[in-house]
């Protein structure tokens, strides 16, 4: 009796599986998997949300989002699962480019369309990429700082996690585009604050104690810049402090509009998501076979900040 019940259950499961597989095969929707770096990372979470929104513009495409949980092992497992589930295209936002490289190569070997995004993994034959250029994002800030930072200035630098492609490239851009050209500028404090606002607050509190003057905060993202600014907010001796970030977050745009922050470079999750979806659709329909493209590195200063504040208000991210 038990055996019969078990056979019956097994048969039902197999029939259901076959039906669902044939439904996917016969359906005219392309199935796309997006492996996000970490849903706990505010930018990655925003990008994942925007990816879902951007997909709505395509009737012939569906998107499933998977969370890499900021862990190479988990992200690689999610890629393997997506290959096994025979998605038509897989978009990977790497946690660590080199760790995901062989798995993206496996996507290509399996005959599935592969895109790497934010940040791209260079040099994978057959894989496309959509990214924001981290060097350019920091460089536009650095070029502005060349004109604004006073002579013999004292600055502090807040870095992203070591080994992170965007963190390293942004710091590289500041070095080449600013520090190498301004040997008069002294770095009085430099630490890794891991993109986090709370860590930046703590570092800045200590730097303010040990330095009479700090002329500029050079941060590799907006979160850390906002944290450092929180410490000097309302202190008259730091009223003229300059501060630079990257990402163009809602908070940073607001701070720039209020005159508290100097500049940031927009890394728009909206643009990145739309460009990803446009690219994957072109690849799936055969309109293109290879795409490597970047969104623009838009500099946000007091002159144009209100435009972006409005954008965030429309999306419900600001009151």
């Amino acid at each position: 009796m038990k055996k019969r019940v078990l056979c019956g259950l097994l048969g039902t499961v197999m029939a259901a599986s076959l039906l669902s597989m044939s439904a996917f095969a016969e359906g005219d929707s392309y199935r796309v998997a997006y492996i996000a770096r970490a849903q706990s990372d505010s930018f990655a979470a925003w990008l994942a949300n925007e990816m879902m929104t951007a997909t709505e513009a395509y009737d012939d495409m569906t998107l499933d989002v998977f969370d890499g949980q900021a862990d190479d092992e988990k992200e690689n497992a999610a890629i393997e699962n997506a290959i096994t589930n025979q998605y038509d295209a897989i978009i990977v936002q790497p946690n660590n480019g080199e760790a995901q490289r062989p798995y993206v190569e496996n996507i290509v070997s399996a005959g599935i369309i592969a895109i790497t995004t934010n940040a791209r993994i260079d040099g994978i034959e057959g894989a496309s990429s959509v990214d924001a250029d981290p060097y350019a994002q920091a460089a536009v800030n650095a070029q502005l700082a060349l004109e604004q930072v006073p002579e013999n200035a004292k600055v502090v630098v807040l870095n992203g996690p070591s080994g992170n492609f965007h963190a390293d490239k942004r710091r590289e851009a500041w070095q080449a585009e600013f520090f190498d050209k301004r040997p008069d500028v002294e770095i009085v404090g430099e630490q890794i604050a891991n993109w986090n606002k709370d860590e930046a607050v703590q570092y800045m509190e200590d730097w303010v104690t040990s330095n009479d003057t700090i002329d500029a905060i050079i941060s590799m993202n907006d979160n850390m810049a906002a944290g450092a600014l929180e410490v000097v907010s309302g202190k008259e001796e730091f009223a003229d402090i300059l501060s630079y970030g990257v990402d163009g977050t809602a908070e940073a745009c607001l701070l720039i509009e209020e005159g508290k922050m100097t500049a940031t470079c927009l890394q728009s999750a909206i643009d990145l998501a739309e460009l990803n979806m446009e690219s994957v659709h072109k690849l799936l329909t055969g309109e293109e076979t290879q795409i490597d493209t970047d969104i623009d590195a838009v500099l946000i200063t007091k002159d144009n900040a209100s435009e972006y504040v409005e954008m965030y208000k429309e999306r419900g991210l600001l009151d």
């Binding site: 706990s40 979470a45 104690t209 906002a226």
Partner: protein
């Protein structure tokens, strides 16, 4: 002989404070700003959240448990509190909401540990994942900004004293009183020292475990409010690893992982040692990687010290027993 014994006892009892004192002297020699009023205030503000969490961890460790969920519950309680403040404009309601969610999560921890006999490590690890997930789901992974007057908790002052330091001081006194002067406090030591003996002596272990988790929940809720107001944002992914900061402060301060041992002032000293260490390394510009190594070494040394002093005590007990048996 007696004099030597007394000297050893004093050293054992106050060694953590001697370490702290030596550390302060060295730090003040390394950087002239270290003992400035501004810097002392900075250290205490930076310590407030970790110290409050450390008291919760200390109470749990003394009674033979621990909490790995405090960082995540802090984030969850904090973002709920921030959202409630933005909707109602009431600081009191926002504050109570944080405490409410801190207590609810910790009562679930207590239920798991007491009624379902789940090891605290597993129960609170599960809660860590659930609470972080709820915080991220609730905010869709986005920071909540524009907190307005909410920042008063973490950034405001009463006279020259930052409110966060006042919170820390008041909580220190309350926890010290509970541990030293209440039956409940003494029960915690008994439960952590030997749970079966505590049951045999009539202590309601289950009830005490619920109460100690509830107190931890209150502390986590308060820490959540201070953390979010300090950074002027509701950060669903904030305070990652803060449970380790709390545990570290408690252990460095002499709380024994085996249970039954620990003091409020020891934990406060432990938190100050970690805080001073972080502060001086930033003031003199020590590289991030080296900072991690130094903190790791300090924790290892504290645990070695703990085991060493425990072995010495065990050896003394054996010696006394042997003498009384006339061996």
């Amino acid at each position: 002989m007696n004099k030597q014994n007394n000297k050893n006892k004093i050293m054992e009892k106050y060694s953590i404070f001697i370490v702290l004192l030596i550390m302060i002297i060295i730090c003040s020699m390394l950087n002239k700003n270290f003992l400035s009023t501004g810097n002392i205030s900075n250290i205490m503000k930076q310590l407030a959240v970790a110290t409050i969490l450390a008291y919760g961890e200390m109470l749990l460790i003394i009674s033979g448990m621990l909490d790995l969920s405090s960082g995540a519950v802090l984030a969850m309680a904090g973002v709920f509190s921030v959202s409630v403040y933005k909707s109602t404009g009431s600081l009191l309601v926002a504050f109570l909401v944080a405490i409410l969610f801190g207590v609810i999560c910790n009562l679930v921890n207590a239920l798991m540990v007491t009624n379902f006999k789940t090891p605290p490590f597993i129960a609170t690890l599960a809660m860590q994942m659930v609470a972080r997930g709820i915080a991220l789901l609730f905010t869709k992974g986005q920071n909540i900004s524009q907190l307005g007057d909410y920042v008063v908790f973490g950034q405001g002052t009463i006279g020259p004293i930052p409110i966060s330091i006042i919170f820390m001081a008041v909580i220190t006194i309350i926890i010290w009183y509970i541990l030293r002067h209440t039956r409940f406090g003494r029960s915690l030591y008994a439960i952590g020292g030997n749970e079966e003996a505590a049951i045999a002596s009539g202590i309601n272990v289950a009830k005490n475990k619920y109460v100690v988790f509830a107190i931890n929940g209150i502390l986590v809720g308060v820490a959540g409010v201070l953390f979010m107001s300090r950074v002027n944002a509701g950060l669903p992914n904030g305070a990652v690893g803060y449970e380790m900061e709390g545990l570290t402060a408690a252990i460095v301060g002499g709380t024994s992982f085996s249970g039954g041992v620990g003091t409020t002032l020891g934990t406060l000293a432990g938190a100050f040692i970690i805080g001073c260490l972080n502060n001086i390394m930033n003031l003199i510009g020590v590289d991030s990687y080296i900072q991690q190594i130094v903190k790791g070494v300090i924790i290892a040394l504290a645990v070695i010290w703990d085991i060493h002093s425990k072995n010495k005590k065990t050896a003394k007990v054996i010696l006394v027993e042997e003498k009384s048996e006339g061996k």
